[in-house]
């Protein structure tokens, strides 16, 4: 009991003395187990800065906005290390962003919510703009500037990542097994029927050779009872061998899996960097 109390108090002390640290937002990631590759999407940054301009009643302040996947997010290193720790020995590759969907900006204190045009940089979309704020809205903007809801940028980025996908899957019913013994139970008759079945497979419009091969194998492995011990002295005995087929619900299945490029979209998950507004 005494040990337990000491244990709890040590834990409590550690919790109390741990530096208060903001949690790093993890990067979005996708794992391809076949190639042991982790595809990750770094979190972009949204940097804002409010400066007094005083050029004219309509150009009183200026709000500078920079949204970027190119400029390094200060949290990225830590997030990357966390990902590496989670997947030791894997390859890590940043995704190639191919497009952006429905980007829009919202600044409630300016009464603004509108879709925006983003440019494509090699690392992803970016938006950089200077908004000029009229004197009539300056106080409202300055009052709201430090609020978490001062500005919001929404949208999605699109990219492709390779992943294994079943591109063809075919199931045959158990009547296929009955077909194998339809002209007799001896091995010669079964082989003859198997050859007919193979030709039927060619006419079924199966796209992939590998699916066909898997079905052909599945028929042999699942329809025939291969467990009974046999003793054969000659070829004649082999051809006359009585073949038992299995009964009941039998699943004959063939499929082909390929690595294909899957289009993925992911919402903006940015880190906000708010520079102090000048007076």
């Amino acid at each position: 009991m005494k040990t337990k109390i000491i244990g709890i108090s040590i834990l409590f002390t550690i919790l109390l003395t741990s530096p208060c640290k903001a949690a790093t937002t993890p990067m979005q990631s996708w794992v391809n187990e076949d190639t042991k590759t982790v595809y990750f999407l770094p979190n972009p940054i949204l940097k804002i800065r409010l400066n007094h301009l005083g050029a004219d009643e309509n150009y009183w302040d200026q709000l500078s906005i920079d949204f970027s996947y190119t400029e390094t997010n200060p949290e990225s290193n830590q997030a990357a290390k966390a990902l590496e720790a989670e997947y030791p020995g894997y390859l890590f590759q940043r995704v190639l962003i191919s497009g952006v969907e429905q980007p829009s900006i919202s600044i409630p204190s300016l009464g603004m919510h509108e879709s925006v045009e983003m440019k494509e940089a090699a690392e992803g979309p970016y938006y950089h703009q200077i908004y000029y704020i009229p004197k009539s809205k300056s106080d409202a903007v300055r009052a709201a500037y430090t609020d978490a809801s001062f500005i919001a940028l929404t949208g999605k980025v699109k990219f492709s990542i390779p992943s294994k996908k079943t591109v063809e899957s075919i199931d045959l019913d158990s009547e296929t097994c009955d077909q194998l013994t339809s002209s007799g139970n001896d091995l010669a008759s079964v082989v003859q029927q198997y050859a007919i079945f193979s030709k039927q497979l060619d006419r079924m419009g199966i796209q992939y050779k590998t699916t066909k091969e898997a079905l052909a194998k599945s028929v042999l492995m699942n329809c025939l009872d291969l467990t009974a011990p046999i003793s054969i002295q000659s070829f004649r005995e082999l051809l006359n061998l009585r073949i038992q087929t299995r009964r009941g619900s039998i699943k004959i299945h063939g499929e082909t899996a390929k690595t294909v490029m899957n289009e993925v979209d992911a919402p903006f998950q940015y880190l906000m960097i708010r520079e102090k507004a000048d007076e």
Binding site: M27, T37, F40, P42, R49, N51, H52, L53, G54, A55, D56, N58, Y59, Q62, S64, D66, S68, Y69, T70, E71, T72, N73, S76, N77, A79, A80, L91, F92, Q93, R94, V95, L96, E114, S115, V116, E117, K119, E120, A121, A122, E123, Y126, H128, Q129, I130, Y131, Y132, S160, P162, V167, Q207, Y208, K258, T259, V260, M261, E263, D278
Partner: protein, 336 residues
């Protein structure tokens, strides 16, 4: 950095015929912010694009930014209609610290890097509102070189500002952010890897388009692509993907191009390519007069990489000019 630029220039000249593969990012386990395109021929060569920009500095002492702002009519008491300013600057693309570190780590691993060869480039302003002319109240003109330079070349921009533009920018030079423009470029390279077996039943495809065409009108390319997708769902066209990194929609687009070439004819439409342009585009298609009976089912293996034009931009922000204010801002009306 100079060593890096020198090696990049050397590599550039010795690999003029090789081109980047834009469908792949070869930067693995290097850094979170690096994109490297592999070369089509040299397995040890990779392409990058500088990801940042900076104003050029003069060779004088003290060194000054290559930026000039000369205004008139602002201090004379005249109306703003008679005021204005001439703004000129020279910038260049640079790698930011994170990209430099990532490239150096890649080079120290025995790889070679080269800057992306640029075909065309343009400097422009982006409006904060979709489809609006950007900052038209502030600018009368924005001029830049019409010819593409290398990634390392200087980017020169001249602008004539309106009266209010002159007033705003004169004040903005005193703030951390003066102006944001985009340096956009096009570069040629190779697209995704296609590897598939394709079957097209041209007779069914023809019948399908004929049934739509009999209702009159033309096909836009996007409509053809959508129809091709339906024909794939109806098994008049089949695509068996055997590998590669092309997406399904890219296969559809490629097959659509084949079908357009075989069955369609383009029609010249009076559609300007842009608001400012005067070009024409082959925007719509009709069915060619074809002997239906000659059409057959065609199979082909699609194993290729297409040449593609890669378009991207780099933000150019003019900032940090405040310390140089007295050297770079001139009043044309001031008497000497």
């Amino acid at each position: 950095m100079y060593l890096l630029i020198a090696s990049v220039l050397t590599l550039w000249s010795s690999h003029a015929h090789a081109i980047p593969i834009f469908a792949e990012n070869a930067a693995q386990n290097v850094n979170t912010a690096l994109t490297l395109y592999p070369d089509s021929e040299d397995q040890n060569l990779y392409y990058f694009m500088p990801n940042s920009s900076s104003l050029q500095m003069t060779n004088t002492t003290p060194s000054l930014p290559m930026f000039g702002f000369t205004y008139w009519g602002l201090n004379t008491g005249a109306s703003l209609e008679n005021a204005g300013a001439y703004l000129s600057f020279t910038a260049h693309l640079v790698s930011d610290e994170a990209q430099k570190a990532a490239l150096n780590s890649f080079i120290s691993g025995g790889k070679r890097v080269a800057a992306l060869p640029i075909q065309t480039s343009i400097v422009n302003l982006t409006s904060s509102q979709k489809d609006a002319i950007p900052l038209k109240i502030l600018f009368n003109e924005l001029d830049f070189s019409a010819h593409a330079g290398m990634a390392e070349d200087d980017i020169g921009v001249n602008a004539v500002l309106t009266g209010i533009g002159a007033k705003v920018f004169k004040a903005a030079i005193d703030t951390p952010d003066l102006m944001k423009v985009d340096y956009c470029y096009q570069s040629q390279g190779l697209g995704p890897d296609f590897n598939a077996h394709v079957m097209v039943d041209y007779r069914r495809v023809y019948d399908d388009f004929q049934s739509h065409f009999s209702a009159g009108g033309f096909f836009w390319h996007a409509q053809i692509d959508a129809e091709i997708e339906k024909l794939i769902a109806n098994h008049a066209i089949s695509i068996v993907i055997n590998g590669g990194d092309a997406k399904e929609e890219e296969y559809v687009k490629s097959i659509s191009d084949e079908i357009v070439e075989k069955l369609m004819q383009p029609h010249l439409q009076a559609v300007p390519t842009s608001a400012a342009g005067s070009g024409w585009s082959f925007a719509s298609y009709s069915l060619k007069i074809t002997n239906r009976e000659e059409l057959t089912t065609v199979h082909w293996d699609m194993m290729k990489r297409d040449n593609v034009i890669h378009e991207a931009c780099i933000p150019v922000t003019l900032s940090g000019l405040k310390p140089y204010y007295n050297d770079i801002v001139k009043n044309a009306d001031a008497t000497n």
